[in-house]
Subunit: 152 residues, 10 copies
């Protein structure tokens, strides 16, 4: 049985060889590119259909295909940072946003919705390029159900 890490390594190698983008793979799977990328990087389980279309798209040979497909259907241990604070600069900037805007987000969620949280489970996300003459912009939209704290 492949571990999730081994499956991810095989997928990255196959993706490199195939020259496919994450977006192309996601289209083949029929899921959003963010969900699909996260799943292939070991953060979400796939259905049998989804994982089978992954191994087909990436051109795995028979035996390996089955092993990778099985691994992708397991419920993974989520979490992908090697240390509590991420060190890769592209990822770190998102951590910095929590350092700078965390209590602001909390204050405004409470002001708008009352006591509760934005769900990270009933949640989806978008990442888009927005053209701008002064330099294109990355636009990330986080969209989670508001969950009110239950009073009991």
């Amino acid at each position: 049985m492949l571990t999730r890490e081994q499956a991810t390594a095989k997928i990255l190698a196959a993706k490199q060889k195939s020259k496919l983008t994450w977006e192309q793979i996601a289209k083949g799977v029929g899921r959003h590119k963010i969900w699909t990328t996260a799943a292939l990087l070991g953060q979400h389980p796939m259905s049998a259909e989804e994982s089978e279309s992954v191994v087909k798209i990436l051109g795995f040979a028979e035996g390996e295909a089955q092993e990778v497909s099985s691994a992708l259907q397991e419920f993974p241990m989520r979490g992908s940072l090697d240390s509590a604070v991420p060190v890769d600069p592209t990822i770190y900037r998102f951590y910095e946003l929590i350092q700078v805007y965390g209590p602001t987000i909390k204050a405004l969620i409470h002001e708008e919705f009352g006591d509760g949280i934005m769900s990270a489970i009933d949640f989806d996300m978008e990442l888009k390029r927005k053209e701008d003459p002064k330099g294109d912009r990355v636009v990330v939209t986080l969209n989670g159900k508001f969950l009110p704290y239950k009073k009991f």
Copy 2:
């Protein structure tokens, strides 16, 4: 001279007494509610005009008004988490998103833009309620300039 923490405490007390919302204060200041809340929570410096309108809106008495206003104009030491991993659940969910989606965001930024980052400095943000019959949703939009890694 007040420290930034003392100024924040005074502002929270005055806000509570005044029953004003962050949004109302922001309107009075003439800035976005996210930027204004972050500034008042000690994460951004304000201009003289902005800080003076804050103390007026919140109804500070003369002497205190000047002290609070001065403090708000200082360049703050940014960063608002007591520990590397935030413990408040409303804030933690955003940290969890980095754990689950960090490498995905990185992969897709690189796929779309090439090598670089989303700036957390040339950056703005929006937080909105989206009505939904299955439960309203929190929509947070992060909007930062793409900065390509300089090759030299």
Copy 3:
């Protein structure tokens, strides 16, 4: 304005003087003893009615009553451990349960419900004594809504 910590300190002092139990206070407030205790220890905001009945029950004098009541209505920064791993033995045992049974709980939630989590927000809890001739037992019941991971 009182901070949440200062309000908690005043409440503990008043509770000690009044010889009331958490259960008696909770009854007066009209909420479950666990929710009420957590709120008074700084982990949940109270409504105006709830906080006013707290200060009445605990016999606070006028000025202090208002201050404590206001503080109890604020949205608190949740989280109550001084370090990542709790050191008090009564609390530590619950951390130990996560060390020993965490992956077991995860495996069985996934087996029974599929991919998702037990909500810690749409959640309530009970703590009861169960008599037993070999020594009475503490029975803690955690009851949270299952939240399925959204696929997108």
Copy 4:
């Protein structure tokens, strides 16, 4: 000799192949599904009978069966988190409960029982689905002997 980690890996692979659930394995072993799952995930030692029925149920071949069975009878080093704070969301929520309710549980155990702890050793646990039209709920019941602090 197999280490406990190697035995767990073999068990997970065999379980995947056999399509058995934890509950089915537990029934075969004659123990509660929580205890059995925890044991197979490396947190409890099994008796010779229990471990032998495990390897039979999971269909291990002779040589491997003996190795896995031996490993399952060793006293394991307990503890299953890679870092002090768990990062998998399904497990993290239980950590969050300690952050939010830890001192509340402590206060109410002391109020009901006096000075002492809920044992994590003379302890058992249940995990059930509770149907609910607004969404089924996970109900986890922790049941541990109260141990009074000995005064000497």
Copy 5:
């Protein structure tokens, strides 16, 4: 109301002034010197009789006596190290013993008693001087009930 830390500080000052030893105070209280010292250093709650005899022995004036006595009856948050690894050399040596002998103790408890632990709750302790011509020795005896892990 005094916090446990404030009460400890007052007790240390009074003890210094009174020139009493921990052993003499313990005799006055009618408890073992280890339990009594731990309680006065903020690790165990005292009964009303015990705490009242403490304040009498240490000669506290009326008002303060009552405050200290009340504080000593509260259930304390246990745990007394400022960091995970103790830095005072006298205390560190005990931590070093766990580093060097921890797995040995575990192996021999399991060999002698089977699966379980030495209770740190149903527990008492002794500290004695043993005369020795090559240098007197500190003899610390830890005595805790064996608690077998419950199988369920």
Copy 6:
């Protein structure tokens, strides 16, 4: 050359196969069971005679016997915890004792002996079962030379 960890792994495997207890091995070596177990778990170096009797008792074949024996004679890097705070419950309880009783032990060592420490080097230890109708007890006796702090 075997590392100390490899030698330990081989010893554990041989011990399992031989069904010998630590106590029986210790008797064969002619040393106390605690010292011997600690040495075999990689915490003390053995003399040539001791290590040779170990490999004989455990029935190692010639080549391996020499390798294991050599490894056991090396001065090991001591210390056996994977993290600063031990997570195995049987070992953790001893850490908890330092959290609860550390400053007490320090105070009473100073009261009885003056300034100094209990040596963890000129040290021995005993672990015994004490029968008790209410449940047998683990009795651990720590016995270290008092070392007075040198004044210079």
Copy 7:
């Protein structure tokens, strides 16, 4: 597929064998020695041309050349310290400079430029020897675009 770490190891071995300096390799690649060294140590992605000239310069055999070249073109997870604080003395001194001069740099950047940061992305760097009769000096020049904090 080679991981970035494996590619780096192969490059270090080839460099040792070839006796080439980083500067010579950088000249062959047509990039600055700092950027090139950082890229080869796994911190920047190379273009196809750059990576192919690397494998030619270092004399890799065909198959390996392609594998190394592919790995060098991947977007790496940046970050090269094993622990938050670097322990190698040559690297540590730069961390020490942040400890001693961090807030000074911040104060003077704000004084000169206003609120913002020196970019670590639109950034280049130089390292030179400056001859000095009292001992030659290392001169490191950091050169990053000033990014003003966006007010919104």
Copy 8:
């Protein structure tokens, strides 16, 4: 006696009131702006003449002037980060440079100078604005004596 922190707080307050820049204060003291700012932020001791000119420039009243001046002459405990990894974005970028370029700097110092370090003691530093039509740049020059590792 003032602590270094208290002296720094008084200096920041006086600087704010006086509207002087760090550069102007440094000129008055007759030292480089970086050294002077670092000294006033508590990282270097000043001579009597330097500290006296500081208190004169900042217009301290007699008694306070002497206290501040004395404090500035003490050898400070250096180090100014609250946590191992700095959280303020302006300072963090310098930490990120060590993460990305640390081993590169090490490799090139060794290539150019042999085994040794850049001194952080026999060291000076410059911070300049470099005009650039695409956005001005921060140029920081680190200049430290090369110290060869002594072979003995």
Copy 9:
């Protein structure tokens, strides 16, 4: 009662005012300058005679003298670093020596003396200036009794 920290603060203030050196104070006390400085910085208890001569030499007024003297006679909680790794450069260099030479010292102590340690309790220390035309040198001599590990 003064805490050890408060006593140290008063001693530093008095030392500053008196312009005495640590060496002069030590001579007055009749102890080595290292032991005396460590004691006054809160790391060793003093005898009544020693602490009384300290307060006399430093010219404390009556009431304060007695308080400081009492505090100096208490057994202190030893340990003086705010974090596990010291950040002050003068102190850090000694930590660096352990990083670079720790296992070397261990190997050579074992080679010369067999299994055991250099005592840090039966220990003294010297710090001297050694003149050298290429720059004077700091010579620190550590002198501790070898303690052989007891075999039992």
Copy 10:
């Protein structure tokens, strides 16, 4: 190419087989036993002559000799502790000395030399046995150039 860790492992194995002491190897190399041991444990680079005499003394076969010799000439990543605080008791005692005497050493270096540090680079060290009827002593002499902080 061998990594430094692999080279060290081979050297330890060869040393064990050859029964040579560190001191004998150092004599063969013509360097001090401390420098040589540190180099062989991976903390200093050797010259070609030195590394070749090492592999000759230790009797490596041709091919391996070259590999080990090459590895010993590389500039190593220095630093040898697995965790910030060393756990081996022989090494820990030196860490403890920093905890107890760190600020004392700092105070006395400043008193004797002014502002600066003892270099850990222009540094040598000695470790000797000093005979003593009450037990022989370990004498470690640290000898580093004083480096005055440059004022600029």
